[in-house]
Amino acid sequence: ETIGVAMSLFDDNWLTVLRHGMEDYGKTLDGVEIQMEDGQGDIAKQQSQVENFIASGVDAIIIMLVDADSGAAISKTAAAAGVPLIFVNNAPSNVDSLPDKQAFVGSNEEQAGTLETETVCKSLGGKGSVVILQGQLGTTGQRGRTKATHDVLARPECSDIKVLDEQTANWMRTPALDLVSNWLSAGLEFDAVIANNDEMALGAIQALKAAGRSMDSVVVAGVDATQDALTAMQAGDLDVTVFQNAVGQGKGAIDAALKIARGETVEKKTYIPFELVTPENVADYATKN
């Protein structure tokens, strides 16, 4: 059996772990071949990749959507061709009404933002000021995580926390480094940095260190629990990150795809929860992602 996997983006750390998870798991399965495509963050490209998969006669398709809302059209295309389709990680907007032979295995972006912000709120004792580092504007992760952050900060127990500024650093380390440096030079005094992902959190840490801020005086939070992030956490620089089980999601997606392809039935929705990582439990996650 051939499974076509349409990834939203190749050059992202967490997605790389997900991708490798699927590839490695695929290799352990006899007679299963995995074919990966890179959507480069473009929904139209991803749509075409799905169509090309269908034309090439794959047995099932796994898709990590560039954006949740593009799921409906892709869902329709696959259903029309009768090819099994599994959405991984990013739930399509029609997740509650998926047609036959389609299923979702993944997580809820908002949960990541909620977990990291709750922890930050708690360590600040419900008051202080924060800055928010957003991912590329308009992407599912940026929207979901930022929204959750704001929702948490709006809760009564965190309502004394002020958001000084929020800007985008496009998911990347160097832009975050520059952005935070600019903030510091503008005299912004913040007690925490809430970043949409770990790379940006690491950039913030570098900027803070360069400006001579003591890392104990500031809470830095990210999402993904990448290798670099865990190392930074062990060094005492990063305070919060959120683990998302990439390998688990990938494995779940492949299993579901194979089952549908073989005519078995699967759960329509499988949510794999995010897990909070802090210095206390960081050791448990050292080798997971």
């Binding site: 139209a44 034309a55 593009s70």
Partner: protein, 340 residues
């Protein structure tokens, strides 16, 4: 006075054959060559035909229709000696704004609750207008302030992308009406692409608009002295390019049944590449729509071919870059050979 000077004795018309062999024939052969390579490799590695698959043949063009529509506008711009970096961003901007007027009332989060279920003509009109507006700004800046087209359209590229993100603060615009989505369904994008190509093929070759476009690109000073209102014509050309980018935005949104701020990112590069592969010269004055169509199809064939042969995604880009270069090298080489 004696009249029979030796000069005019090569009768004009002797060598009309040269005109009949269009230069894009070369790149057409390159396209055929690439397709055949995939065909052969297909039989060897996948045990099936690459070309004898109606579905795939459609997708090959379908997936590049949007690029193709932009590329047609960009080709005209490049023929005048300019460049349009903004087309991809304008696609995103028009997609967002047009989609806002194309939402069905059944959708949960509509932008304009009082403006749902409108006939498709309204979002289409809005999209084209937005494109025209962007083109007008580009054209006016280039023609009347004389800044380099690169900068004017770079500014528009950055700003238009900003507008798409700002318009809904990053939220996608979804739940589009069936009537609107229809333009993006099935092979309609291909139809739109080919109709646009035909129209502008004719416009460039058989109308005054076309002749002026080439003249400006060949020598803007001479064009001016020959009485062409260069400024006004440039504005027209950029408006057309903007309008086509707007059209492309509409088709993209209709096809994806959603509009997002990130739509069309880097399409400008693919569009310029399609034009240049098809023989359009960035120095201006040279280029044809047929060539651009072939260039566009080459991009589509490559994408489909890679998936078909299950080329590892890691290698696809490396190979894609090499094929683009090889295609143009072959073209240049063949053209040189024929010349001598």
């Amino acid at each position: 006075m004696n009249t029979n000077v030796t000069a005019g004795d090569t009768p004009a018309g002797m060598n009309t054959t040269r005109r009949r062999l269009p230069p894009e024939l070369n790149i057409f052969f390159v396209l055929i060559g690439i397709a055949l390579v995939f065909e052969v490799l297909g039989w060897i590695f996948a045990g099936q035909s690459f070309l004898m698959n109606k579905q795939r043949l459609t997708i090959m063009i379908l997936q590049v229709s949007v690029i193709g529509i932009i590329a047609i506008g960009v080709t005209q711009v490049i023929i005048t000696g300019g460049i349009d970096l903004s087309s991809g961003s304008v696609v995103g901007m028009t997609a967002m704004i047009a989609a806002g007027f194309a939402q069905a009332s059944t959708w949960g989060r509509v932008m304009y609750p009082s403006l749902t279920d409108l006939p498709a003509i309204i979002p289409i009109g809005v999209g084209l207008l937005i494109g025209i507006l962007a083109g007008l700004i580009n054209g006016a800046l280039i023609a009347y302030t004389r800044i380099p087209p690169f900068i004017a359209t770079l500014g528009m590229m950055v700003s238009a992308r900003g507008v798409s993100k700002w318009y809904t603060k990053g939220q996608p615009v979804s739940g589009l009406t069936d009537q609107f989505s229809f333009i993006g369904s099935g092979i309609w994008p291909v139809v739109v692409f080919l109709v646009v190509a035909a129209v502008f093929h004719i416009a460039l070759r058989y109308t005054r608009y076309g002749k002026f476009t080439y003249a400006i690109g060949a020598n803007v000073q001479a064009a001016r002295v020959s009485g062409i209102n260069v400024e006004r014509h440039l504005v027209k050309v950029y408006v057309v390019a903007g309008m086509l980018a707007g059209l492309a935005g509409i088709v993209t949104a209709a096809r994806a049944q959603t509009a997002q701020a990130g739509m069309g990112v880097m399409y400008e590069l693919d569009a310029i590449a399609a034009a240049v592969i098809g023989g359009t010269s960035l120095a201006g004055g040279v280029g044809r729509i047929t060539g651009t169509v072939i260039g566009t199809v080459i991009l589509g064939v490559m994408t489909s071919g890679f998936t078909f042969l299950r080329v590892d995604a890691y290698y696809q880009e490396i190979i894609k870059g090499a094929i683009i270069v090889a295609a143009v090298v072959t073209d240049v080489y063949r053209q040189k050979k024929r010349k001598v």
